[in-house]
Symmetry: C2
Subunit: 328 residues, 2 copies
């Protein structure tokens, strides 16, 4: 490949910054511009050198950008943005509202087919790499049971929820998988697990001055949907402690399948991630799938695809012959 | 799919028996016949019901078998068998001589293209699932280093080697990954490792009566290629102990990539297997890829493919819509 793949980024939060940095690690790619709803001239890029454009100018880049990496949120941004952008460009996104993926797929597929573009939806690690592993392990061990655990890591949704509790000035929530349960599965057990059995929730709270700590604690641990079904620990800390120890965005998790072959022979497959930065890792997955989107589109394919539909060789800049020699 | 996939097995050792059992776990598949170089009427199948045929009759099954699963060895069987069978049938094999895969690929590809068949070569877990994970993690974390560990498990080649030592009546060899090294990698280190640092070799030997135990030990630990580069422990046991404790064929291993994103952020990806039976698990992988071979061939594709070239959705009997809804 002599031509570099021309990339655009739509949305410039933590994920967009991660994509900008990841592109620098891939010499076959080049960042053309970052598109934002904010004032472009008031943004500075992580590398200090990227070009910002207002999102309204995106159409002028048709033919100049090979793949748009969409870095908006799943709640309101992507349901609008992906179909709109997919009608003009190849796209990759990290749409992660699991229950609505089928509907999202159909909508994006329609737009991408119309525009003769290729859209890889719902990449990242879950959905994404974890989905690949659920599929792989279920296909190989049809008699078995799989378990997905998340953490230890920061949950943005739960952190937002605790910050809305009266008396809370700041706070962060960690989802923590229960280590003993994972060990029992690794040793071949296939327990029936409730929500409470699988994960703990650890909250680190900076209270407002004079706040009723017991009331905060009670409001959190009984909060429906977010905490009521879990064992939740609430820790009160100072603003300094929060800044010193809770600024990172670590995450990770496990997909474990415990199955049997033959006459009850136990076989265990496990995939795990331990990430110091969730958005930077997700960004790296998006960038690898941007390469796949470009190559599939170059071969004449169009429409919506998921990670399940794409051969892994499309993620690599190496040739098939090199991959067979070096990695197989 | 109303039609079941018609499968043939070529070769009936541990792997062939594993394939026979795995087919029973996949209701969309049916075993037509097992082909052998031995006297077919002197074999009994693991399920007790399979039909045996002499390998010389294989051509009569053209049009009656969708995929042949080749269960011979990589040293002498598969280099002959895969090209020969690929000229008549779709095939799947577990060719695992890493250094010769490029040459094998070309030879099989030529035969498969000529016969308009599709051949998935070198499946199993290494090459196979471990290759997929090396590719996935290298593509997502281009700045990083990956480590493959095997074990704890029985190595057939090393077990054969110790059984050839004078004075050895019977024996088995386990390859054991060094746990402390794996832990250091999981904690983010990327050490430079020699062969000796990564794996131990544990030998359990039944000596012949009156044999010189020190001489056996010395012959093993100094054996070039097999043991000289490793720390090797030799344990002498009785025939009863060998039968009671060392009849299984467990194996497993780890592919770990430790990489960085952004400004030195550490990210770790790991895939691991813990197998009570190596041949039964490998067989299960072959059967899943037989489904892929059948589907790719039904779509009009031909030639040689590896696991790197095949979307994981092809391994599953479920539809794309079901996979998106249930697994993504």
């Amino acid at each position: 490949m002599s031509k570099t793949i021309q990339i655009g980024i739509v949305g410039y939060g933590n994920l967009g910054r991660g994509v900008e940095l990841a592109i620098k690690q891939n010499p076959d790619m080049e960042l053309v511009a970052i598109f934002t709803r904010r004032q472009p001239d008031q943004l500075t890029s992580a590398n200090g050198s990227a070009k910002f454009e207002h999102i309204s100018t995106v159409e002028q880049y048709k033919g100049k950008i090979d793949v748009m990496i969409l870095c908006g949120g799943s709640a309101t941004d992507l349901p609008e943005q992906t179909p709109a952008i997919a009608s003009m460009f190849n796209t990759v996104d990290s749409y992660d509202t699991h229950a609505k993926i089928p509907e999202f797929f159909d909508k994006v597929n329609e737009a991408a087919v119309k525009g003769n573009n290729l859209s890889v939806i719902s990449t990242g690690w879950d959905p994404g790499l974890f989905s690949l592993n659920r599929l792989l392990s279920e296909s190989i061990l049809p008699e078995g049971k799989d378990f997905t655990f998340w953490g230890k890591g920061v949950s943005q949704g739960h952190s937002d929820a605790i910050r809305r509790v009266p008396g809370v000035k700041a706070g962060v929530q960690y989802t923590v998988p229960v280590e003993e349960v994972i060990e029992s599965i690794r040793s071949g057990e296939t327990p029936e697990l409730t929500t409470r059995d699988k994960h703990l929730r650890e909250c680190f709270i900076v209270p407002e001055e004079g706040a009723d700590l017991e009331a905060i604690k009670e409001a959190i641990v009984t909060m429906p949907n977010y905490f009521a079904d879990y064992n939740t620990n609430v820790h009160f800390i100072t603003e300094e402690e929060l800044k010193a120890e809770h600024q990172g965005m670590p995450h990770g998790g496990f997909v474990i399948r415990s199955g049997v072959t033959g006459n009850g022979t136990k076989q265990i497959m496990e995939f795990s991630l331990k990430l110091e930065s969730n958005p930077e890792f997700t960004a790296s997955v998006l960038v690898a799938y941007a390469r796949a989107a470009y190559r599939l589109s170059s071969e004449g394919q169009n429409g919506a695809k998921t990670v399940l539909d794409i051969p892994l060789s499309y993620l690599s800049p190496k040739s098939g012959a090199d991959l067979r020699r070096e990695l197989l």
